[in-house]
Symmetry: C2
Subunit: 582 residues, 2 copies
C-alpha cells in the first residue's frame, strides 16, 4: 500500500499516529522557518508541515523543491493544530512530515486547480484531465454515477431485469440516420449501431420478461445540434400487462426517487396535460411550467374591428408579461426586433400596456376602444403594471413564435430558476403527422406506438386526428423521457405500416420478424425511455459524456481522442471491401 489513509480522513482521533498519505500539492506556504503544504486527493486536503530545527534539513529541502500538482508520498505524525480550520474536514490536525517521496513531478499547470479557477473554457477543455481534478467538475461525473445507481436500485426493487442488447445490429429505419459499421467478414455489408433497443425490448416482452430495463448507449448520425449528440445514453424500460396509467405511475415513482436521492426534494404529484392543451396554452409540446404566462386566444375580442393584420390572421394569441408596463418605447422596439429575428420569425408584435395609473396604451390604439382593451386585459386577468404581448398568423406558426417569446419573457422576469423544478406529463400526442415534403404520414413517436382505442374509427377517415397512447415527461421545458403503449397484434401493426406508406413487402422485409413474433402470444406492453444525459444535466451533472470526458485537444482544436475520426490504411479499407471516394 502506498498510503495508509486518504487526504480527507485524518481527525483528532489519529493524533500521534504515524501515517502515510499520497496526493497532489495544492499549494505551499513558506514563512518564518515554517513550511506548510496542502496535499490533495479525491477525498480531501490535509495540511503538511515542516519546521526548521524540528524537521531534518533534507526533508525541508525536498519539500521546498516541490511545486503545484507534484505527486507526493508523505509519511509523518498526526498533530493537533494550534489554529484549527473548521472549514476543512481535516482542519483539526496537521501532518508533521518525517519522510517525503516525489512520486512524480509536474509541470506548472496552465490554470489553477481550485474550485474557482482562472482557466477559461478553451484552456480547461484542452487540459480536461487537469480540469477534472477540480471538485466541482469531478462532482458532475460523480453525480452521473449516483443517478445511474439510484435508477438501478429503484428498478431492481420493482423486479425489472436489466438485459444488455447487442450493439452491432441490423439497420432499421427510425427517423434519424444510422451509423454504419463495415463488416470485414461480409465485405460490402454493414452493421448499424442502434438508435434504441426498441425492437429488442419488444421481443423481450414477447419472451415474457415482464419488466425490462437497460441503461444503454444509443447512436444517431445526425447533424450535431445543441440537444443532439452522436452517442447518448438512455434509461430504456418496458413492461408487460400494463396500460398507460401504470407506466405513468411507475416512472413518476422513478423520477420522485431520483429527486429525493439526488436533490433531497420531495416531488409533488406530477401534473398531466394533453398535447392539445400544451400547444394551445404554451405553443409547445414541452412547456416550461416553472411559470404560468399561459397563452390566451383573442380572435373573438380583436377581430372585425378594422385592424387588418389581426382580421386576416387565423389566430391572434397573447401572453401577459406581468409587470412589464414600464417597458420604454425603445425596449418594446427591441423586443419587436427580437421576435422578427429568423429564429423566431414573427412578422410583428402588438403590445397593450396596462399602466400603473389604470390607463392603457397599445400599438393598435387606433383600432380599439378603451372598452375593447379592458376586455383583452380582463381575459389575462391583468393588473396595472402588466403588459400584454400579442402575435398573429397561421395557428401552428404563431403558437411556436409565441412560445419563443414566452420563454424569453420568462427568462427576463427571472422565472426560469435552474434550482426550481417543474415536472409534467404531456399526454395524448397525435399518432401521425403529415410530412409535406414526402407527402406522406409519419409516425410522431415511432411505428410501434398504438392508437387510442377510442380513436380507432378515425384511422381511415381522418388519420391526423387519431391520438396515440403516447406520453412525454417534461422537466423545465426539456423533454426528458417519452414512450408509448405498443401495438402487440400483427394485423394492427400491418395496418400501421400500411398507413406509413410501406408496401406489405417492405413491411415484411423490415419488421416481419417482429410481426411473426406477435403471432406467438405477444402480451400487451408499453414502455418509456429517458434521456440519461438530459436528466443528469437537469440535476447539475454531466450532459454529454462526449463533451465532458473530452480529452486533450490538438493544435487544430480537435479532441485527439474522440473528435477525430481519422483516415484508415488502404490495407484495412481493402479488408472491409470499401473505398474512400476521391
Amino acid at each position: 500500500m502506498l498510503r495508509t489513509h486518504t487526504c480527507g480522513e485524518l481527525r483528532l482521533s489519529h493524533v500521534n499516529q504515524t501515517v502515510t498519505l499520497c496526493g497532489w500539492v495544492q499549494k505551499t506556504r513558506d514563512k518564518g522557518g515554517m513550511l506548510w503544504v496542502d496535499l490533495r486527493d479525491r477525498y480531501g486536503i490535509t495540511q503538511l508541515i515542516v519546521e526548521e530545527g524540528v524537521s531534518s534539513d533534507a526533508i525541508i529541502e525536498s519539500l521546498r523543491g516541490v511545486g503545484r500538482e507534484f505527486v507526493l508520498q508523505i509519511t509523518g505524525t498526526v498533530k493537533e493544530r494550534e489554529a484549527k480550520n473548521d472549514k476543512m474536514a481535516t482542519g483539526d490536525i496537521e501532518l508533521l512530515v518525517e519522510d517525503i517521496k516525489v512520486l512524480n513531478p509536474a509541470k506548472l499547470p496552465p490554470f489553477l486547480i481550485e474550485d474557482k479557477t482562472d482557466g477559461g473554457d478553451e484552456l480547461r477543455m484542452k487540459y480536461r484531465y487537469l480540469d477534472l481534478r477540480r471538485n466541482p467538475v469531478r462532482e458532475k461525473l460523480r453525480l452521473r454515477h449516483k443517478i445511474g445507481s439510484a435508477t438501478r436500485s429503484f428498478l431492481d426493487n420493482k423486479d425489472f431485469i436489466e438485459v444488455e442488447t447487442p450493439v452491432l445490429i441490423k439497420s432499421t429505419p427510425e427517423g434519424a440516420r444510422d451509423f454504419v459499421v463495415p463488416s470485414r467478414m461480409n465485405q460490402g455489408e454493414f452493421y448499424a449501431l442502434p438508435q434504441s433497443p426498441q425492437t429488442f425490448k419488444q421481443l423481450l416482452m414477447v419472451s415474457g420478461f415482464d419488466r425490462y430495463y437497460q441503461i444503454v448507449k444509443c447512436f444517431r448520425d445526425e447533424d450535431l445540434r445543441a440537444d443532439r449528440q452522436p452517442e447518448f445514453t438512455q434509461i430504456d424500460c418496458e413492461m408487460s400487462f400494463v396500460e398507460q396509467e401504470d407506466i405513468l405511475n411507475m416512472f413518476e415513482g422513478l423520477i420522485r426517487h431520483l429527486f429525493k436521492i439526488v436533490k433531497d426534494i420531495d416531488l409533488a404529484e406530477v401534473p398531466r396535460m394533453d398535447y392539445a392543451d400544451a400547444m394551445k396554452y404554451y405553443g409547445s409540446d414541452k412547456p416550461d411550467t416553472r411559470f404560468e404566462m399561459k397563452f390566451q386566444e383573442l380572435n373573438d375580442l380583436v377581430q372585425n374591428k378594422g385592424f387588418g393584420i389581426f382580421d386576416d390572421a387565423k389566430l391572434v394569441v397573447g401572453i401577459n408579461a406581468t409587470g412589464c408596463a414600464s417597458y420604454t418605447r425603445k425596449e418594446i422596439d427591441k423586443l419587436t426586433e427580437w421576435v422578427k429575428r429568423p429564429q423566431v420569425g414573427a412578422k410583428g408584435m402588438v403590445y397593450l400596456k396596462y399602466n400603473e395609473d389604470g390607463s392603457t396604451k397599445s400599438s393598435a390604439d387606433k383600432f380599439y376602444s378603451e372598452e375593447d382593451k379592458k376586455a383583452i386585459l380582463e381575459r389575462f386577468d391583468a393588473k396595472p403594471g402588466d403588459m400584454i404581448l400579442m402575435l398573429s398568423g397561421e395557428t401552428n406558426t404563431v403558437r411556436k413564435q409565441l412560445n419563443e417569446l414566452r420563454l424569453e419573457m420568462g427568462e427576463r422576469l427571472g422565472l426560469r430558476d435552474p434550482n426550481k423544478f417543474s415536472v409534467l406529463w404531456v399526454l395524448d400526442f397525435p399518432l401521425l403527422e403529415f410530412d409535406e415534403e414526402s407527402n406522406r404520414w409519419h409516425a410522431m413517436h415511432h411505428p410501434f406506438t398504438s392508437p387510442k382505442p377510442e380513436d380507432m374509427d378515425l384511422i381511415n377517415s381522418d388519420p391526423g386526428a387519431v391520438r396515440a397512447n403516447a406520453y412525454d415527461m417534461v422537466i423545465n421545458g426539456t423533454e426528458v423521457g417519452g414512450g408509448s403503449v405498443r401495438i402487440f397484434e400483427k394485423p394492427l401493426q400491418q395496418r400501421m405500416f400500411d398507413l406509413l406508406g410501406f408496401t406489405p413487402e417492405e413491411a415484411e422485409a423490415q419488421f416481419g420478424f417482429l410481426m411473426s413474433a406477435f403471432e406467438y402470444g405477444a402480451p400487451p406492453h408499453a414502455g418509456i425511455a429517458f434521456g440519461f444525459d438530459r436528466l443528469c444535466s437537469l440535476f447539475g451533472g454531466v450532459e454529454s459524456i462526449r463533451d465532458f470526458i473530452a480529452f486533450p485537444k490538438n493544435n487544430s482544436g480537435r479532441d485527439v481522442m474522440i473528435d477525430s475520426p481519422s483516415a484508415i490504411s488502404n490495407e484495412q479499407l481493402g479488408e472491409l471491401g470499401i473505398d474512400v471516394k476521391a
Copy 2:
C-alpha cells in the same frame, strides 16, 4: 392495471379474494366436466379451474377454445385446492374462473415451452423469443443481471466511481483490429469502436479519480473464434496509489463477493502462481487447477540411455494419468493418435504403466531398466495402477502439447467438474514477446504495462527476460481477468514505445496526449479488466449476449437482427464518402 397479482403470488391467505391474473397458457386438462388451465408468467404458474354446472357455459366454452401460449386475462376467486401440490409455490390454491379475456391468441409454438423442451438447438435459436420463455433460459439472463448488480454494489461500496467513456473514438492500435465507423460529417474519415477504455481510464487516474470502474461494451473486429466475440462486455477497473498487491487483494475481494452472492460459495484465499511455473508445471498461462496432474521434467532421468527421440529433445516432460494403467493397447494407440492430431501436434507419445501387481510396462522398455523406470515413477509419486504419459520436443511446443493432453486426461478422469471452482492468480508475465513474423518485440499485455523495477536493468541487455507487473485471474482454466501496474512516467513510456519499434514521431502521434498528461502529475496507478461474459458463463449464465439474445433467423439461417450486416443505399454511401468495391 391489467392484473392484480402475478401468477407466482397467490397463497392460502388469498382464499376467497377476487383477483385478476395475466399470462400464457402452459397447458390445459379437460376431464369429467372439469377443465384445468395452468397460466404462466415470469413469476410462476397458477392453476385455473372451471367446472360444468358451476361456471357459466360461455366461460367454459371460451376456456376450451384456448391453446398453448394464448395470452389470457383471467378474473376469478381464489379457492383452496383439495389436492395440494407442494412442488408449486402456488400449489395450495387454484383460481375459479369468473371472467376470461383472450388478450392475444397464439399459433402453436414449434416446441414445448417447458423446462425440458422437445426443441432442438436450431429450432430454439430460430424462435429464441419463445425459447426465452423457458425458465432455465430466462434465468441465465437474470443471473447476468445479478452478477452485474453484485459487481456494482461491491465496487460502489469501495468508493469506485463508474464513469461512462465514449464509444465513437479515435482508432488506436491495440493488437486486434478496430471496427471502424465512417463519419458523415468528415467524409472519408472513420471513428473506431473501442477495444477497451484503456487510455480513458488512465487519463481519469491522472485526473485524480482514484478509483474508477465501468461495465462496458468493447469491440474487436477479429475472426470469430470460440472464445472471441465481435462485441463483449468488460468489468473495467483502475486504481491510483496502489501496487500489484493492492489490486490482487481488492479484486480477490470482488470475486469472493460474487461467489458468495451468486453461488453461495465461501471462496478460499486465491493461490498465486508465477507465469514461469504455470508454463513449467501446466504448459499454459491459464492452468485448470481443479486437478493436479502437474508436469514433471524428465531430461535427467531419460536422456543418454540410447532412446534417440528423447535424447534429441530439448525437453522430455510427462504427467501421471492416475489409475490409467488399465488402458489397453488399443486405448493407448487411440490416445497416441489423439496427441498426433494437428490440433495438438505431438509427434508421438511414450507411456509407462505401473501395473497393479507392481510390474512396469513402457513403449520404450528396451531403452530403460527397471531401475530407470522406477526412478521415473518415483518422480511422479506414482502408485500401482497409474500410467505416466511422456512427450518430448522443443520446450514451448512440447509444453503446449502436454497441456492439451493433461486437459484431455482430466476430462476423461472426471476431474473437470463444472460445479467445482478453482481460482488462481498468475503473476510475473514477461513484459515482451518476440514476434518472429514481424521480427520485433510486442507487448505481452499492452504498451502501458510497467516492467518490474528489479528487472529494469535487463531492458537493454535481455528484453525477453524482463518480467512485467502484470497479472491474470484464471478460473477453471479460463482467463477471466487480467491487468497490470501501469507506466506513469513519460520517459519510461517513451522507452517502452521505442522497444516496441515505434519511432518517436509515431509514438507522439498515437499516444502523445497520454505522455503529455503524464507530465502534469500522474499518480502511480494499476488496473484490471474482467471478461464479464466469461464470468457469467462460468457462473452458469449467458456467455455471449450476442449469441444469446439472437432473435429470429431468416430462411438462409442468418439472424435477422444481428447476424446480418446488410447493404446500404448508394445515397447513404455517398453521404459517407465511401464506395463499396466491385
